[in-house]
């Protein structure tokens, strides 16, 4: 197998393992399924471009989250400034999010409420809460975001408080 094929295989494996993470990040930053698809393609493209730096980096998880979140934040901002449609917060679009695997209507509604509440956070809080929900520790979140663990605590505390209030309101 030549080096190019090895490269392709490594990338495919990486994406295969992390697809759910990436798709969830896309959903945090936009509800519109068309735009989610665009953002997903963009994240893949940026991961592909950044692949050489991945090889020199042993923290694959941190690397992946950094690229994905940076891409998502830039994508949302570009869409705003180029006056395309503003991405988040359209209830109709929220309904496009598929039902819970068990088809439990309550669960489905809870997930939608959670996403709706997350959409009210700012971009950094969205990143922090996503990483938290993905079960990353403070140290790793701090590394992805480039802030201290103390700051991670502050941002998460604020984000969770907002979420709690918003979800109560929504409930």
């Amino acid at each position: 197998m030549d080096s190019e094929s090895q490269n392709d295989a490594q990338f495919l494996e990486l994406i295969g393992q992390n697809r759910p993470k990436l798709l969830k990040i896309c959903r945090v930053y936009t509800w519109n399924t068309g735009e989610q698809d665009d953002l997903y393609q963009e994240i893949l493209f940026q991961l592909w471009r950044a692949l050489p730096s991945f090889k020199a980096n042993s923290h694959a998880n941190t690397w992946l989250y950094r690229v994905a979140l940076n891409t998502a934040i830039t994508f949302v901002r570009k869409n705003k400034t180029s006056r395309m449609r503003v991405v988040p917060c359209d209830t109709e679009e929220l309904q496009q999010i598929p039902a819970h695997p068990t088809h439990d209507p309550d669960k489905t509604e809870q997930i939608r409420e959670l996403l709706r509440a997350i959409s009210q956070l700012n971009d950094l809080e969205k990143a922090a809460i996503t990483l938290f929900l993905e079960d990353l520790g403070y140290e790793e979140i701090a590394s992805v975001m480039g802030i201290s663990e103390g700051n991670v605590g502050v941002i998460l505390h604020r984000a969770k408080k907002k979420l709690s209030t918003l979800m109560k309101e929504l409930a």
Binding site: D8, F11, L12, I15, G16, R19, L23, K24, R27, T33, Q36, D37, Y40, Q41, L44, F45, Q46, L47, W48, R49, A50, S53, F54, N57, W63, R66, V67, L69, N70, T71, I73, T74, R77, T81, I97, P98, A99, H100, P101, K107, Q110, I111, L114, N122, D123, L124, A127, F132, L133, E134, D135, S143, V144, M145, G146, I147, K160, L163, S164, M167
Partner: protein
């Protein structure tokens, strides 16, 4: 809901698989990577193509024109275009290249830095983009088109474009970049971030003042350069180019000969003559050959009148009635109060054409020229004027003849004597004389030519070779083009306040249009190449044709003559004069 419950809920989301399978995705990514390189390349080209295009165009103009202002403008525009490319390149290089795997906050800080640089660039666009370009383009235009009115029009358009550019950039900063800057700042430091300020006022008034000051500076520089720079630069290849040009016109228009002279800064810098004295003959014209001046004589009569006015022999307001007081009874009463000035300005009401019988008699008349003139004008003045004197411009050889006789009466000398002693001798016009230039039976000077059935026909020296002597003050002088250029230089200097033989006020009188565009023996015409008014007159005794152009603002004059009065004469002389103006006043 506690943390664990939230995480569980998060993990239980039902996800939608992406549209493309991963394998296809790989080839799509590779394709996009290739495309990215091309996109970045063309983006760079697009950003700089305008500046490169401008630099190329103005480099071309720099080579094409040699006027100082035009070249200075070109240099500034090219330098400013190259500076723009370099400045943008350096400014955009300041934030190091973004790596996709930087931490989220680092990436945001980089975005903030980029946004701040862009804000700085757009806010200062007046200084690094608008003003240098405006300064260069305005100088270029002022060098190229040296008339005030179009220059002011151009300046207005330029200032409007500049203001619009500044306004657009300010708008982009207010509407796009400032909100973005505050958004990123708020993300990075949510606790200590002030509320976004109201959009700043655009300070367009101060920008307008700065732009106006720059444009004003251009006008000032143009004025200074104009004062320092010689009005005309000689073209080194002029003699050969003129020779070639005249030969071409003579051949094309089938005219026998053409002679020219050019005056630059008061000096005769070029003379040339091409062709033959007699159509079908072998005698070539020389630069000393004399050509009949026709009505160009009129300004000479007026000039001598001004000299006699200065001497107190006559005044501009002297009337026909006063000069011919003894024979007043034979003069139509309407002519009594017609002044010398009115006659010279062609506003004396004298008919444009003489009565047929009188004109026939003039052709047959014998006796001295002065006697013939007197008899002719007696006949004219006995008739009713064509229009009420002083009310209408009527181009009239008869009017100038009456004026000539008035000068004879006032001075006690013949018109020919006045011309010789007061004008030709002081100006060194040694070749100047009256009537057809050639001697009877000889081809020692150019012969006049008339249009024949097939070709132009030479008119041999003799009674038919010029108009009757009666109307000499309106058109009988002949001289070489070099001597005519001396005469033109004399009027050129006079108009510029550097004249001799006459006071500045007299020159002003001679050159000031009365009514529309006719002064005393000169037409006053506004011309772009002349940077203002030009003095012009042409003349023809129907067998020769001459044109004189004087551009006082350019300290330039050109005279062109041909020895035919056919239809070809006017366009041929006009073409030669235009070509000479182009060559010398580029």
């Amino acid at each position: 809901m506690n943390d664990e419950a939230l995480k569980k809920l998060w993990q239980e989301q039902n996800l939608v698989e992406p549209a493309l399978p991963s394998e296809q995705q790989i080839s799509a990514l590779k394709q996009r990577m290739k495309k990215l390189g091309r996109t970045l390349f063309w983006r760079d080209i697009r950003e700089n193509i305008g500046a490169v295009f401008t630099a190329v165009i103005f480099s071309f103009y720099f080579c094409k024109f040699d006027a100082f202002l035009v070249r200075a403008g070109c240099v500034i525009v090219v330098a400013s275009a190259l500076f723009n490319i370099l400045y943008l390149f350096l400014k955009k290089r300041v934030p190091p290249k973004l790596h996709p795997d930087e931490s989220v906050t680092e990436s945001l800080r980089r975005d903030l830095q980029k946004t701040n640089i862009e804000i700085g660039l757009l806010r200062s666009v007046l200084w690094w983009y608008v003003l240098p370009g405006t300064f260069g383009v305005m100088l270029f235009y002022l060098g190229l088109v040296q008339l005030l009115t179009p220059a002011l029009g151009f300046a207005t358009i330029l200032v409007s474009i500049d203001l619009f550019l500044c306004w657009l950039n300010e708008r982009a900063v207010d509407r796009r970049l400032m909100p973005l800057k505050y958004e990123i700042e708020a993300l990075l430091d949510p606790d200590n971030h002030p509320a976004p300020p109201e959009p700043e006022k655009k300070h367009m008034t101060s920008k307008l003042l700065v732009i106006l000051a720059t444009v004003g500076l251009c006008f000032f520089v143009a004025k200074v350069v104009k004062a320092v720079e010689p009005s005309v630069k000689l073209t080194s290849k002029a003699p050969a180019a003129i020779d070639e040009m005249l030969a071409r016109i003579v051949a094309q228009d089938k005219i026998p000969a053409m002679s020219i002279a050019v005056v630059v800064d008061g000096k005769i810098v070029a003379t040339n003559a091409v062709g033959v004295r007699k159509y079908g003959g072998t005698e070539k014209v020389t630069i000393d050959d004399q050509f009949h001046l026709g009505s160009v004589t009129k300004s000479m009569t007026a000039t001598v009148a001004a000299m006699l006015v200065e001497q107190g022999k006559i005044s501009w307001t002297t009337t026909i009635g006063e000069i011919f007081s003894s024979s007043k009874g034979q003069i139509n009463g309407e002519y009594h109060n017609v002044t010398l000035e009115q006659l010279l300005a062609q506003r004396g009401g004298v008919p444009g054409n003489p009565p047929n019988e009188l004109w026939r008699k003039a052709w047959l008349a014998t006796g001295s020229a002065a006697e013939q003139r007197l008899a002719f004008i007696k006949g004219m003045l006995a008739e009713k004027p064509e229009a009420k004197p002083g009310t209408k411009f009527i181009y009239s050889n008869q009017g100038y003849t009456i004026a000539g006789v008035m000068l004879e009466k006032a001075s006690g000398k013949t018109w020919e004597n006045l011309m010789q002693t007061m004008l030709f001798e002081p100006l060194g016009m040694k070749s100047a004389g009256f009537g057809a230039p050639a001697t009877l039976g000889k081809v020692d000077q150019p012969w006049g030519h008339k249009a024949g059935l097939l070709n132009i026909e030479p008119v041999p020296p003799g009674p038919a070779a010029d108009n009757p002597l009666a109307i000499s003050p309106a058109g009988a002088v002949h001289c070489s083009m070099e001597d005519l250029a001396r005469y033109a230089a004399f009027h050129l200097a006079g108009e510029r306040g550097e004249g001799k033989l006459l006071k500045p006020g007299s020159f002003k009188k001679l050159h000031q249009a009365v009514g529309d565009d006719y002064a005393l023996g000169w037409m006053v015409l506004s011309r772009g190449w002349a940077k203002g008014n030009a003095l012009m007159h042409n003349g023809s005794n129907t067998m020769f044709y001459v044109v004189v152009w004087i551009a006082p603002e350019r300290n330039f004059a050109v005279v062109v003559a041909t020895n035919t009065g056919s239809d070809k004469a006017f366009p041929a002389c006009d073409a030669a004069a235009s070509e000479l103006i182009r060559q010398f006043l580029q």
